[in-house]
């Protein structure tokens, strides 16, 4: 039995009214989760790399518009549908009931989720550039639907997002139509064939418009400001879904257009000045800065959601970096990181929202010690942060390792060092997240807190299993990554079940994990079977320089967690981008006020005379000359 793309798209369209119908009841919500399972099965049946084509196609304005899901799109589509399914399950039980009572419209939430999935499928299955743009715009606007739901600070973030998104969309539209002017067609084949004949300046314009437009959604620098608040302040399942996959649509589109259609060779052709820095290097550096700066912004956040949101921005940099390395290892690393990031970011956001669900806050200075009360959420977050920080044996390590290796072997030590700086920043930042939430002193008001309900913990824990299993056996995912690479026209990565097999350095995660677990085993034997007994004591039985601790004393270190580091690097946080954005907006506002002033002058009829006088003068001047 094989699936059909049409059926899949139909399913996801039908899902929208179904979501509206079913979302208010618990059973209905679980049925909607089932709908995602069905979509996922359908997608799985389609199989990677078959290039399933939709029977639906239109001729619009002389362009034939159709849909075809290749291996790249399939890879992203699987992640998308699965992320939506997990998010839907997370909200299906108590979370939904409680939040509905607090005034959240579950109908809109589930409709929004399904609309997003549909829009992303339309984008991912695009068979030509018109379909791509349609999908792109739908995706952008669908995201807005989820962001607006929470109200309050989310509204401002969503407004900011949509301005960025429209700007990106317009750049893409410009690039699209310049491509049409240059290539005469918007079919992928025709465009790919025509690109090598396009002149340098036109190619510059086309490439830049596309890449900039798409990277707005990726939130690569300098378009990085909108994403963290927009994703962070959405309702929990929406945040998990958006954080997991939404921004990656930009990566998909960049991969498709810049790598597949325009081609890495053409990017190499575009030199910024003489032959020193070409567009590809430029992109790589942009990616690296995107990996570094947002990570260090994340480190300063005191809201757990924002912290994760900023990391989402930063991790996008890794993916782009891997992708533009465009060798088999780096691009595979970049694509694999999409999957990995989706898994652990979803876990992390779910864990944070589970904490919010129970304690009502995500303020890292108002939490602490929750491991004793929410151990499963802690476990989920722990696995998530190991993934995010890219430490073995979780999956984040594998993709990062591939990117590092590619950078070293491609002779890009500076990029490598810069990437590691970002990773180190991530380690610092995620420890702060974990520590301030789950470790340290349990606050008095949280002593009666309970673990999140099963409907919320199970999606997290299942994802944890995924993170671990794909970390130990990355070959499971690399198979599809390799197919996606082929769809992009890149050399597929040589993988084994445990990782990468290469003469210049192998990675076999099965061995690494086995040895690590064996090490832990030895450690456990040394610890538990040797030496004296220990006894667990209350957290107030603690060294405080002889001070008597009581429950009402805050004995926790959380604010300005990396004080020493910040002392050194705080001057570097100039907020230049935020400042520039603000300056742009206010300059723009001033110009706009001037424009309004033009229309509000007392006697605008003067302009008729001015115009006429100018024309007459011009004629007389011509008559004289």
């Amino acid at each position: 039995m094989t699936g059909s793309l049409d059926f899949l798209l139909l399913l996801s369209v039908v899902g929208v009214p179904l979501a509206a119908l079913l979302a208010p009841s618990v059973v209905g919500r679980w049925l909607l989760v089932l709908l995602y399972v069905v979509q996922l099965v359908e997608l799985a049946l389609l199989g990677s790399g078959d290039g399933a084509r939709s029977a639906v196609s239109f001729s619009l304005l002389g362009h034939s518009v159709g849909w075809q899901l290749d291996a790249l799109g399939w890879f992203f589509a699987m992640i998308t549908v699965a992320a939506a399914g997990f998010s839907a399950a997370y909200a299906a039980g108590e979370w939904g009931t409680l939040n509905a009572r607090a005034g959240l419209s579950l109908r809109w939430l589930y409709v929004g989720l399904q609309v997003n999935v549909f829009a992303m499928l339309v984008l991912l299955a695009a068979g030509d550039m018109v379909a791509l743009f349609i999908g792109w715009e739908l995706t952008s606007w669908a995201g807005l639907l989820l962001m607006l739901l929470a109200g309050g600070e989310a509204i401002a973030a969503a407004r900011r997002y949509i301005v960025y998104a429209i700007a990106g969309g317009m750049m893409v539209l410009g690039g699209l139509l310049m491509t049409l002017a240059a290539a005469g067609s918007l079919q992928f084949d025709a465009v790919a064939a025509a690109i090598p004949t396009v002149g340098t300046s036109a190619l510059w314009a086309i490439t830049l418009l596309f890449v900039l437009g798409f990277s707005v959604k990726m939130a690569t620098m300098p378009f990085h400001l909108w994403q963290a608040p927009a994703y962070a302040f959405s309702p929990a399942p929406a945040s998990a879904f958006l954080g997991a996959i939404s921004a990656r649509m930009g990566l998909f589109a960049i991969a498709l257009v810049a790598i597949k259609l325009i081609g890495i060779v053409q990017l190499d052709r575009l030199y910024l000045y003489f032959d020193a820095l070409n567009l590809r290097n430029l992109l790589a550096w942009v990616a690296v800065f995107t990996a570094i700066l947002p990570t260090f912004v994340a480190m300063k956040q005191n809201d757990a959601r924002l912290l994760l949101g900023w990391h989402g921005v930063g991790q996008g940099g890794y993916m782009l970096l891997g992708l533009v390395m465009a060798d088999s290892l780096g691009s595979a690393g970049g694509l694999l990181h999409v999957f990995n990031h989706a898994t652990y970011q979803a876990i992390l956001l779910m864990a944070v929202f589970a904490v919010i669900h129970r304690t009502g806050t995500a303020d890292l200075n108002r939490l602490g010690g929750l491991v004793a009360r929410m151990p499963l959420s802690f476990l989920a977050m722990l696995i998530g942060i190991i993934g995010l920080a890219g430490l073995p044996p979780m999956n984040g390590f594998v993709s990062k390792w591939m990117i590092y290796r590619a950078l070293i072997l491609e002779g890009q030590p500076l990029l490598f060092v810069a990437t590691v700086i970002s990773t180190l920043g991530t380690v610092l930042s995620v420890y702060k997240l974990l520590h301030n939430t789950f470790l340290g002193q349990l606050r008095l008001e949280h002593e009666t807190v309970k673990e999140a309900p099963w409907s919320m913990t199970i999606p997290m824990l299942v994802l944890c299993v995924v993170v671990f299993v794909t970390g130990v056996a990355p070959g499971l995912v690399l198979e599809y990554v390799a197919a996606a690479q082929q769809a992009l026209g890149l050399a597929p990565v040589a993988f084994i079940l445990g990782g990468i097999d290469s003469p210049a350095g192998t990675l076999d995660m099965i061995w690494v994990t086995a040895i690590l677990l064996a090490g832990f085993g030895i450690g456990a034997v040394l610890f538990y079977l040797m030496g004296g007994r220990s006894r667990r004591v209350h957290q107030l039985d603690n060294y405080a320089g002889g001070h008597f601790l009581t429950a009402d004393v805050r004995y926790q270190y959380s604010d300005n967690f990396y004080a020493g580091l910040m002392h050194r690097i705080r001057p570097w946080y100039r907020g230049s981008f935020a400042w520039a954005e603000e300056a742009l907006v206010s300059t723009f506002g001033a110009i706009a006020t001037a424009a309004r002033g033009f229309f509000e002058q007392a006697n605008p009829a003067h302009w008729v005379l001015v115009g006429t006088t100018l024309i007459t003068t011009w004629v007389m001047w011509h008559a004289l000359v």
Binding site: I155, V163, M171, L173, A181, A595, E600, Q601, P604, V608
Partner: protein, 485 residues
């Protein structure tokens, strides 16, 4: 064939008859006369549209074109002519006040003159119909009796009158150089106008007709008038009247001034219109003014589109114009109860969900969200600009794209306000059923267009082919001239 003259004559007649039935036993007849006439005209024009095969000319009263009133009927003219009674019917003012009769007869007058603008084949007649339309609109704008309305109408009057003078100057210049005002004959004399004086004439005509077409820089009346006039009048002026004025300018451009300079002038003015309009709209805090400024920006896009050479330009222009007609009319209708400060609308979606939904629909189309028609019109405009490929065209492209971003910013501000939780007291304003019906009809039209985008495009393409065929125009009109010696 002559029944086409009825399309102008009937509303004109009705406009003068309408006040007679303002009171007394035949009051119901007065109520009926307008809609019936407009419906009749619609039917007539639709019959012509559906049976249209090739362009033809009509010499009114048998007088030959140089002297008589000449109508030239091609698909484009018919399309716009058809739009007039249809849209007027949709935006028909109710008889709610004491001056209902006057408003209705002015509306009929406006409809008649606008139809005339669409069909007229003579520069002088164009001018006459244009003035007629102007007079009707002054009355309509001032019609709500508020002091703001009078101020706005006066402002409008000043610009419009000055513009008319300049336009007349342009007409004089043309007549002085060529000795004729018949468009067909002028078209054969194209080379005589291809000099600085000719270009100046074009510029003057553009300024003259541009006042109504909200062309930069003679559009200073727009925000005031739309802010003060009743929303249905604003919808008529922004949606319909401006398009007919644009049509006139396009006709003049195509037939008399097929030069690059003229196109460039239009392009530059269009760019300035987009930029200034959208920027000003960004700073608007008042719904009607915001829509007014937005409409300046949109018409800038229309000008940019029409400035593109060849059929592509015409297709893009007509598409953009029609799209704007539908969307902006509808938005103005919705702005009826939702006029005034935007902040007032907090939570309005909770009291009239349909209205908010429609607003979102139109806003999205305006922003060009595929697959709504707005996207395709933008697609055509920008595609044409990219194709033309000069620096100025790229500038135009940048202006249109940037304009859209700005538009997104302020429309989203409205939408998020609509859907924000209500502020408490005063309660957010509620939409009226009649307005929702009108806007709903426009919405249905928009969605239908989205579904049938390809047939529509083919129609427009065919229309453009005949539109740019100036030789056919000359032949047809001059043949009609032969026929009525």
């Amino acid at each position: 064939m002559t029944d086409l003259t009825l399309a102008v004559a009937l509303p004109l007649l009705a406009a003068f008859v309408r006040p007679l039935f303002n009171a007394g036993a035949l009051r119901w007849l007065g109520q009926l006369i307008g809609p019936v006439v407009l419906a009749l005209v619609t039917v007539i024009l639709f019959a012509h549209w559906s049976t249209f095969s090739e362009p033809f000319a009509i010499a009114l009263g048998g007088f030959a074109p140089p002297l008589g009133i000449a109508f030239y009927v091609d698909r484009m003219a018919l399309l716009f002519a058809l739009a007039v009674p249809l849209v007027t019917l949709l935006l028909w003012p109710g008889d709610d006040g004491a001056d209902g009769a006057r408003r209705q007869s002015l509306t009929l007058l406006l409809a008649a003159s606008l139809t005339g603008l669409a069909l007229s084949g003579d520069l002088f007649n164009l001018y006459v119909f244009y003035e007629l339309a102007a007079v009707a609109s002054y009355g309509l704008v001032a019609g709500n009796g508020s002091s703001a309305g009078y101020v706005a109408a006066f402002r409008y009057l000043m610009i419009s009158a000055l513009g008319s003078v300049v336009g007349l100057l342009g007409i004089g210049l043309v007549y002085f150089k060529t000795g004729t005002l018949n468009l067909a004959e002028l078209a054969t004399l194209g080379n005589e106008l291809a000099d600085p004086q000719g270009l100046a004439a074009f510029a003057m005509l553009a300024i003259g007709f541009g006042v109504k077409a909200e062309m930069f820089p003679v559009n200073g009346w727009v925000p005031e008038v739309y802010g003060a006039a009743s929303r249905r009048v604003a919808a008529l002026l922004a949606g319909l009247a401006s398009k007919l004025a644009v049509l006139v300018i396009v006709r003049i451009l195509l037939l008399m001034f097929p030069s690059d300079e003229a196109r460039q002038l239009l392009l530059v003015l269009g760019i300035l219109g987009v930029v200034s309009g959208e920027l000003a709209a960004y700073q608007a805090r008042d719904m009607a003014r915001m829509l007014g400024w937005s409409s300046i920006g949109q018409l800038g896009i229309v000008f940019i589109a029409f400035s593109l050479p060849g059929e592509a330009g015409l297709v893009a222009g007509v598409a953009a114009a029609l799209h704007h007609l539908v969307v902006k009319s509808a938005l103005f209708v919705l702005a009826g109860p939702w006029g005034g400060a935007i902040d007032r609308l907090r939570g309005a979606a909770t009291v009239s969900a349909l209205g908010a939904g429609l607003f979102v629909l139109f806003a999205l189309s305006l922003l060009g969200l595929p697959p709504l028609p707005g996207f395709w019109s933008k697609f055509l405009v920008i595609g044409g600009l990219a194709d033309a490929g000069t620096a100025l065209h790229y500038l135009g492209m940048a202006a249109v794209l940037t304009g859209t971003v700005i538009e997104g910013a302020y429309l989203l501000r409205v939408i998020t306000t609509l859907y924000a939780p209500p502020a408490g007291s005063p309660a957010p304003p509620r939409q009226r059923g009649s307005d929702l019906l009108t806007a709903g009809l426009f919405g249905i039209a928009l969605l239908a267009a989205a579904v049938m985008i390809d047939p529509l495009w083919q129609t427009l393409d065919a229309l453009a082919v005949s539109g740019v065929d100036t030789a056919a125009y000359q032949q047809t009109v001059l043949a009609a001239q032969e026929a009525h010696p």
